[in-house]
């Protein structure tokens, strides 16, 4: 199954780059959903020989929440908000891509020592995890809209998940569910907030969300 992991890793990288390269909000959400779908598959692939009901259950719940529920929420929020459907980056898309490539390099560099320390299944999973986290941060930092920041946050979460999977951090159910619920709730609350923002502000533009400052 190892080769499949590499394929998934590459797909994840491509998803990240697509995220950075697109100018459309809907594409962003779509990409995150796709990423989550891929992630759901990773633990199954990694432990294909010792599949347990619990593992499958977790993977299923995860996939449902992150690939279906949350994107649906986001899409709804985006629709409610109206406004432009562009992501409105602070830095140009090309530059975003270039920075993304740079970040990938950094990830590879950082992953070196980590890999030595950890026990790698796929040479690519750890750098991909780091890369995904960084891209998530990059999206939060470099995009104007509040909703893209939620997207960035989700991407970051995805990266952390990849990391957990890569090191086979197999947590007891309670924590795992707790984590998932927290993420769900977080996004839900964020979505709610954005909904309020849309009512309070003319259109969702975090430019307007900078009246509180020193």
């Amino acid at each position: 199954m190892e080769p499949w992991l590499d394929v998934i890793a590459v797909l994840l990288i491509l998803a990240n780059l697509r995220l950075l390269g697109t100018s459309r909000l809907s594409v962003c959400i779509q990409t995150v959903a796709a990423q989550a779908l891929l992630l759901g598959a990773v633990p199954l692939l990694m432990h294909a020989d010792e599949l347990s009901a619990r593992l499958i259950a977790i993977a299923a719940v995860y996939t449902v929440i992150k690939a279906i529920v949350l994107p649906w929420l986001l899409r709804r929020a985006a629709r409610e908000l109206g406004g432009t459907r562009e992501v409105e980056p602070f830095i140009g898309l090309t530059l975003s891509l270039l920075v993304g490539m740079g970040l990938f390099g950094v990830s590879l560099f950082l992953a070196g020592p980590l890999k030595r320390a950890g026990q790698g299944h796929s040479g690519l999973l750890i750098p991909v995890a780091l890369f995904t986290i960084m891209v998530g941060l990059l999206v939060i930092i470099s995009r104007k809209k509040a909703i893209t920041q939620v997207v960035g946050y989700l991407v970051m979460e995805n990266g952390i998940y990849v990391f957990g999977v890569a090191f086979a951090v197999q947590e007891p159910l309670l924590v795992e569910m707790g984590v998932l619920l927290d993420v769900l709730a977080a996004v839900f609350v964020m979505g709610l907030t954005i909904y309020h923002i849309s009512r309070e502000f003319d259109h969702i533009d975090t430019d307007r969300l900078s009246t509180l400052k020193d």
């Binding site: 602070f90 020592p113 939060i140 470099s142 995009r143 104007k144 969300l209 900078s210 009246t211 020193d214």
Partner: protein, 665 residues
């Protein structure tokens, strides 16, 4: 011992009771009464300690549920001396204060005011009695806080809030140095005074820390800037306590630390002399430039602290170079001046309070002719003025004489390089003396003599008896100490010996340190003698004058104004004009804003001279520094620009930096 503790308890309980009484007139009486009662108890107790020798000293230790702390009080010669000063002045000021505040009864929350006053007293008495560093610091800050709260009593007046702020900040920042000081001294783990000791090579650091920390409280230049703000802002009986004794706790602290540090280094003496000289000269110069009576007095506190520190510096210099006579004279002079200054400065502040109370203003240029209207206040103020100017036969002269003697003795002995320190002391004292004389000639002359310059001054009335008596007592003390100086010096001897002994000088009865004391014993009777003779001669001359004028025509008339027959009060010389020539000589040292409109032309129109003296340390040092910090922080605030994206970037950067730095990834 039990009297002292009882006094503290009376003060605290009384203060609390006054607080409960709140706005009722009872609060005023209750607060003053307990302040007097508590002060008398501690006065008696500490006087007994000082008089009773080593046997009367006490030490009281109780556990305190506080890590590092203990309720450890003690009374030795030094503590007792300062406790006497504090109690005496506080009692008199409390008597004065009750009447001073009487017209606020029912309108203001006097209970709180008396609570703060009593806490101030208790904390000052606690400061001098504390034998545990933590307890000392708590008492120290309580003292600052309570006096700050008293300063804020008239917070509706313009400028008081900023004065209070300046004071609070100065007090607090000064304390920071003390924290470090005591922690360095207590690095062995215990914060009991008996266990405090400077680590190797740290004595100098400790001295500097003590100098800054305690110097701030004492008002040494350039740490004095709070003093001329805060003291005038407080009610006058509080100013008397603050200026008279509270700033002396700084001197106490400095002495206490010097005693803990043992044999001093030579440079400490030079530093003290240098700071003392600067404080003394600049203090009196700034005072001369003031037009606000209480502000003027406040600057004089800076000056007198300078004189005291000159004495201490001489003492430290003597201790460091083993010149016991000089050391003993320096310490004796400094300590006696602590006592003397407490007396005449509180007298002057009480007098200024009466003036402000009666005339409604403290502006010199609006006063005048008050001696006729307030005879007792005027006479006592005159005595205080002469005393603070160091004139015989009053007490101020005696303490300055002792310092002079130490310095002259060193010069006469031509004892190495320290002679130049001694010469500096003499020069500084001489200059201070001359300037103080000028300043008090101005203060007394403009306020009490001549004709009233405003209707308010013309309508002034003498204060009630309860305000006059404390002043009379203090003025009497000025004279009594001047005449009875040998007795006073004898009473002071244990304290001086304790200090000198702790600083590494041998004070056995046949040791050289006694030269100093022997000199004091030899000289002071002469001072009494000449002072007595002076009084007799004044009486004689008065008698002569009376004899000559008897039966002759003595007529009232107008002041002879060189043919100009109708002088008006506005034609009198003003305080600004009086001080102007001297200030011009020293114009480089003080920043005075002058607005001169000289008379012009053949028929000159209105001409005027307005001077406004700002403290150059405030204007040239602290304010620009504050503004620079403000500006800088204003620049840095852009970092908090309101954008989430940037904020997340900070997090990412922090993460990156830490990871790269710590793990070398």
């Amino acid at each position: 011992m039990s009297l002292y503790v009882a006094g503290l308890i009376v003060l605290l309980v009384g203060g609390a009771a006054a607080l409960v009484a709140g706005r009722r007139p009872l609060a005023n009486t209750l607060g003053a009464l307990t302040a007097v009662a508590g002060g008398l108890l501690t006065l008696v107790s500490s006087a007994a300690t000082l008089a009773g020798g080593a046997g009367a000293q006490w030490d009281l230790m109780r556990p305190w549920a506080m890590p590092g702390g203990s309720l450890h009080l003690g009374m030795d010669e030094l503590s007792a001396f300062f406790a006497i000063c504090i109690s005496l002045i506080s009692v008199l000021a409390a008597i004065y204060g009750r009447t001073y505040l009487a017209d606020q009864q029912g309108r203001r929350h006097l209970g709180a005011s008396w609570l703060f006053y009593n806490v101030l007293l208790a904390s000052m008495l606690g400061v001098v009695a504390s034998r545990n560093a933590l307890l000392f610091l708590v008492a120290w800050e309580l003292m600052s806080l309570s006096s700050f709260l008293l300063v804020m009593f008239d917070d509706k007046q313009p400028g008081v809030v900023s004065a209070g702020w300046t004071y609070l900040v100065a007090a607090h920042l000064g304390t920071a140095f003390l924290l470090v000081l005591f922690l360095l001294l207590g690095s062995s783990g215990s914060l009991e005074f008996s266990d405090l000791a400077a680590g190797p090579n740290l004595a100098g650091v400790c001295f500097v820390l003590a100098l800054i920390g305690f110097g701030t409280k004492a008002g040494l230049v350039p740490l004095h800037v709070w003093l001329p703000e805060a003291h005038p802002a407080a009610p006058s009986h509080v100013s008397a306590v603050m200026s008279g004794v509270m700033i002396k706790t700084g001197i106490y602290g400095l002495l206490r630390i010097l005693m803990l540090l043992g044999t001093p280094a030579i440079w400490w003496g030079y530093v003290l002399i240098g700071l003392g000289a600067i404080s003394g000269v600049l203090g009196v110069l700034f005072a001369l430039a003031q037009h606000d009576l209480k502000r003027l007095l406040a600057y004089h506190s800076v000056e007198n602290i300078g004189i005291i520190v000159l004495g201490l510096g001489l003492g430290v210099l003597g201790a460091a170079t083993n010149q016991p006579a000089m050391a003993v004279l320096g310490f004796a002079g400094g300590l006696l001046h602590v006592f003397n200054h407490a007396i005449f400065k509180s007298l002057l502040f009480l007098g200024a309070g009466s003036v402000a109370h009666a005339a409604g203003t403290r502006d010199l240029e609006s006063l005048g002719g008050l001696l006729k209207r307030m005879p007792t206040t005027g006479a006592t103020f005159l005595i205080g003025s002469a005393a603070i100017a160091g004139l015989p036969p009053l007490n101020g002269f005696v303490s300055e004489l002792l310092i002079y003697l130490g310095a002259f003795g060193s010069a006469a002995a031509r004892a190495g390089v320290t002679v130049y320190g001694a010469v500096a002391v003499i020069l500084a004292l001489g200059l201070i003396g001359g300037l103080a004389l000028a300043c008090f000639a101005k203060a007394f002359g403009i306020v009490f003599l001549g004709e009233p310059r405003t209707a308010a001054a013309a309508g002034a009335h003498e204060s009630p008896a309860a305000m006059r008596w404390p002043m009379v007592v203090l003025a009497g003390l000025c004279i009594a100490i001047g005449l009875g100086c040998p007795l006073v010096a004898e009473a002071l001897r244990p304290t001086v010996y304790a200090v000198a002994g702790a600083l590494g000088l041998s004070v056995e009865s046949d040791s050289p340190a006694n030269e100093g004391m022997a000199l004091v014993r030899r000289v002071l009777p002469y001072i009494s003698l000449v002072a007595g003779a002076l009084l007799v001669m004044i009486g004689g001359a008065g008698l002569l004058r009376w004899r000559l004028l008897r039966g002759r025509a003595v007529e009232p008339g107008l002041t002879w104004d060189c043919g100009y027959a109708a002088p008006t009060p506005r034609m009198q010389y003003t305080a600004s004009s009086f001080a102007d020539p001297i200030l011009k000589v020293f114009r480089r040292l003080i920043r005075q804003q002058r607005q001169v409109h000289p008379p012009e032309g053949l028929l000159p129109a209105e001409a005027s001279l307005h001077t406004h003296a700002q403290d150059p340390f405030t204007e040239g040092g602290y304010r620009p520094a504050f503004l620079a910090v403000m500006w800088l922080s204003g620049q840095v605030r852009r970092l908090q620009g309101g954008r989430n994206q940037v904020y997340v970037l900070y997090i990412a950067l922090a993460l990156l930096v830490l990871l790269v730095w710590k793990l070398g990834l």
